[in-house]
Symmetry: C2
Subunit: 152 residues, 2 copies
Amino acid sequence: MIRFEEALDRLLRLTVVLNDDMTRSLAREGLTVSRTQLLWVLRRHGEPLTHRQLADALDVTARTVTGLVDGLEADGFVVRRPHPTDRRAMLVAFTERGADLMRTMRAQQDHFARLLFEDMPADRFETFVAAMDDVLTRLESVGVPEPETEKP
Amino acid sequence: MIRFEEALDRLLRLTVVLNDDMTRSLAREGLTVSRTQLLWVLRRHGEPLTHRQLADALDVTARTVTGLVDGLEADGFVVRRPHPTDRRAMLVAFTERGADLMRTMRAQQDHFARLLFEDMPADRFETFVAAMDDVLTRLESVGVPEPETEKP
DNA sequence: TATTGTTATACTCTATAACTATA
DNA sequence: TATAGTTATAGAGTATAACAATA
């Protein structure tokens, strides 16, 4: 009988490995995790978005969004433009390069997912996914808040 | 049939949720994730350790270790003392408070693990753990380096 | 000459607070 | 008065590089 602490240990180890790998992969494209999360929000919610909408979706302050957009704009992934009706607000949208990057990342993620799971027996795979859902549900019911799903 | 990308999505979501929760929990004790990882290394490898050993285990530079130990020492979790034979080196060891913290954290983790898994059917739990091992193995065989297991 | 740890410097991410422009 | 976004400031974590002391 495998004990619960060992399962948690594996889960945390998986967390660390995946996070480190993501950080390294993104660094090769000149990106950070935080900046990439902003790009994902932009894709998920549909562009353009204001700084305020980005700050709410990312659960960070307006100041942080300013910094992230500064970096992404300097690297040519997004552009700022004035809001057509609210002259206080800024809209953020993809550049061509940013849109290309999103397509590339999507393809890479699909490839990575196949790499991880395609050799797993089908019944094990199904149970694994169901168990992850169990854990996510359990976490929520225990009061661990789930973020707004700003993932690939 | 659940598709691979959805499985990866769940895995990454789990990663984010667990990481955010850990960050919040540690913040309540006045700790950060990085400083806590140093404490885990100290427990795992056995104290005392030199800065160099800590840097290698954490895969960060010596400069970073200096900063982390500065913070942990200021908060009273560890102490620095001279190496008995190598007068260039510093040894880092737990204080009483640091050792207490480690014991408390271990208990909290056991409790958290039970909370997550104790209601899961036994066969699903076993399959889940086996599948995580599969994924970890797969990651390694694909060239994603696993860190030195500096986990709780 | 090589290693240990520090100081110096810089960049990213994050926060709070003060401020400007606009609603 | 309230909101959107900026600047100012600060702290954590990270890196590289220069340096001192010691091996």
